[in-house]
Amino acid sequence: MERTSKISIKGLRKSFGHLEVLKGMDVEIGEGEVVCLIGPSGSGKSTFLRCLNALETITAGEVIVDGYDLTDKKININKVRENIGMVFQHFNLFANLNVIQNIMLAPVELKKITKEEARKKGMELLAMVGLEEKAEVYPSKLSGGQKQRVAIARALAMNPDIMLFDEPTSALDPEMVGEVLEVMKSLARDGMTMVVVTHEMGFAREVASRVIFMDEGVIVEEGTPQQVLLNPTQPRTIDFLNKVL
């Protein structure tokens, strides 16, 4: 089925000094798609994800998100980012603010809504991730799973159309992975466009509309979870899956 393209990437290259991390990637992501990026560490998955909201400068190629060309110096990158939520491996909750302040900061500072509205919306989001009672608590008092759920709520507070997840469960104790994946699944069910770098093959199989296997800065194989995870054709994909499954 044909959907409107949310993210369109052509010939994306990224170098750190002399080291080329992304060696020409082409990806189209449609509205409501859940794309899981898998691959060995150092394959460029996270760098790729960080290029989608210009946290990394783009060395060459074209990245069009929501109709904005991120390589165009004239665009207001902050405006583009308001529409792209990001969840990090290490949560990155603001340590100087409590949970509800973490969620309210961007909407209020960017004058999207009043403080009262932001608090109301923040409490709704906290209810959604099951952490209403933690609103006034500082991040240092939360468990890893709770931190990540707050981080998701914080990203959602700006009403983004796209959510990027950078190994959201990799820093969690095993028993906390489930609660975070549950929140992500419900987001996916609600039709959020998601790009997820993950090592959770179960999540990828269950939720992803497409799986991309990356190695050494290129896309090796992509397709439905069925194709890539269960019937891989490329030797590197087969080798990787044998190691992780």
Partner: protein, 234 residues
């Protein structure tokens, strides 16, 4: 100690006891201490702005900004405070014809000097905060300045507090150097009193104790403050 008592006796009451010296010069010395604190506080407020300005230039991504900050920091740290004070107090009026009073010249020299060290404190404070904090703020669409002011700096300031206290103490002690341009801070006041009564030993001891008391009180208060603002961590 006994020889001291003996010499006091010998001078036949002309020389005074500690208590007598304090009674006679206490008000004057406390006033001078007040001037010292005023000079320190004003200089440190200006130094904080100078430090914040150059510290932020130093952590910015622009090479030009980094260079400007480094040139300032290197120049100021490479010149002794006493030379800077002479330059501001005697040199600048000579070149421009604008006469500065000792307090103004003192504040300018001390602020410039402490500002360079504050810039380094600010830089180190900001760099000690995990990069993820800035990235998370930027990913939400906050501009650099807002991310810096609302997220990074509040955390960095907490880290910086012990160093700022340390700088406060250094600057407080550095005010004594400004006795050379005639500003009536505590050391200058001591010199004036000693010129009158020749009680070198006791007067310098009194002045040393005055500094000691003020600085110890300050560092204890500051440490209590530091404990108070640890965000829900303890």
């Amino acid at each position: 100690m006994s020889s001291l008592l003996y010499r006091t006796e010998e001078k036949g009451g002309l020389a005074m006891s500690f208590l007598g010296l304090i009674r006679e010069n206490g008000v004057y010395l406390l006033g001078a201490m007040g001037k010292t604190l005023e000079l320190t506080l004003l200089s440190l407020i200006f130094a904080a702005f100078i430090g914040l300005f150059f510290g932020l230039l130093n952590v910015s991504k622009s090479r030009v900004c980094n260079t400007i900050a480094n040139v300032y920091i290197d120049c100021i740290r490479g010149v002794p405070l006493i030379v800077l004070a002479f330059f501001v107090y005697f040199g600048i009026p000579m070149a421009t014809g604008v006469r500065l009073d000792a307090l103004t010249a003192g504040i300018i020299s001390l602020s410039m000097n402490a500002g360079a060290y504050m810039a380094e404190i600010v830089r180190a404070g900001i760099q000690s905060i995990d990069k993820g904090q800035m990235e998370a703020a930027r990913s939400l669409g906050l501009p650099y300045s807002k991310a810096m002011c609302r997220v990074v700096l509040p955390q960095a300031i907490r880290v910086m507090i012990p160093s700022i206290i340390n700088q406060f103490i250094i600057t407080l002690k550095d005010t004594s150097i400004l006795s050379v341009i005639g500003f009536p801070e505590l050391v200058k006041a001591g010199q004036i009193v000693i010129a009158r009564n020749f009680e070198t030993f006791k007067m310098w001891a009194i002045i040393a104790v005055m500094y000691l008391v003020v600085i110890t009180t300050l560092s204890k208060t500051a440490r209590a403050l530091e404990r108070k603002i640890s965000y829900g961590k303890n």
